[in-house]
């Protein structure tokens, strides 16, 4: 288990060119797993998640000076990772096709990568999430899996707290009705 480094210390290291690389490695050790799973839940595929995670690392290191320290480092990492994941999905969508229409493609990917003998309820729940519009899905993931507050999600997505609450409510309702429909 990695020892947690204070955010202030990490930030000082990242701002100091002579200690930036060391600070960046520590940052990845501290938050890399959380960010990886956030990306994986958006893009679903193993290879896709690896590519997006790599791109996120490059963006984070290259733009560290743009982090003003208003929010937490983790919130900023979530923001960069979310943007990279969305960009990855946009590249996969056909011309004039919305990324929201990628649900079926992502469900196929889930089917291919899901572990054998996986609990059926887990698969149904994941498929329910993939029927959600991407923005609702991201809000749901951040709230349900990562247990972030609406204020933190607002900082990541750039949406208002009220919009996020509405998104989460609609997402929960849709997931419920999907599960009702597909559970035996």
């Amino acid at each position: 288990m990695a020892i947690k480094t204070d955010d202030k210390l990490l930030q000082q290291m990242l701002y100091d060119p002579s200690r930036r690389e060391e600070g960046f490695r520590m940052l990845m050790r501290q938050y890399g797993r959380t960010i990886y799973w956030h990306i994986r839940r958006i893009v679903v595929g193993h290879e896709d998640a690896e590519d997006v995670f790599q791109e996120t690392c490059i963006k984070v290191l290259g733009n560290i000076s743009s982090f003003r320290g208003d929010g937490s480092l983790l919130t900023w990492l979530y923001r960069v990772a979310t943007n990279e994941a969305l960009q990855h999905l946009r590249r996969q969508a056909h011309l004039f096709q919305s990324i929201d229409s990628l649900g079926d493609t992502l469900a196929e990917r889930l089917k291919a990568e899901a572990m054998l003998h996986e609990n059926e309820a887990v698969i149904i729940f994941q498929n329910a999430l993939l029927t959600l519009p991407t923005q609702q899905r991201i809000v749901f993931n951040l709230r349900y899996y990562d247990e972030l507050s609406y204020e933190e999600i607002a900082r990541i997505t750039g949406k208002s707290v009220n919009t996020l609450k509405t998104n989460y409510h609609y997402a929960t309702e849709k997931v419920k009705s999907y599960i009702k429909e597909h559970s035996r």
Binding site: M28, E50, Q54, C57, G62
Partner: protein
């Protein structure tokens, strides 16, 4: 739905080993650092090329202005006589002789 969520918790249908994640974090960080080094060195190279081009342009510009025909003449004809020179030139020989003449020593101190 709550029963179902309690049942499955936050389990994902796919898993990655700790070894894989450890390796991914180290490799991705290393690649990002190398990428940043490359980006910086290519930016430095671009700056050097731009500076060199600017110096070459400056040298060529100076060379052209020095060797260019008539450029010196233009500078010479553009010189303007001072009002004092104009006044002295307008005087005749006699008028010039009548001008008060001071030796350096005669200039009073003040």
């Amino acid at each position: 739905m709550n029963d179902l969520l309690n049942d499955i918790g936050k389990k994902m249908p796919y898993q990655e080993s700790e070894d894989y994640l450890d390796r991914l974090l180290v490799q991705a960080a290393q690649k990002a650092i190398m990428h940043e080094h490359k980006r910086k060195s290519s930016r430095r190279l671009a700056m050097m090329i731009i500076s060199a081009a600017a110096v070459v342009l400056l040298v060529v510009g100076i060379g052209l202005s020095v060797t260019g025909h008539g450029s010196k003449t233009v500078i010479a004809t553009q010189q303007v006589e001072s009002p004092m020179d104009q006044f002295l030139n307008s005087l005749s020989e006699e008028e010039l002789a009548q001008l008060p003449y001071y030796e350096i020593e005669e200039i009073p101190e003040y």
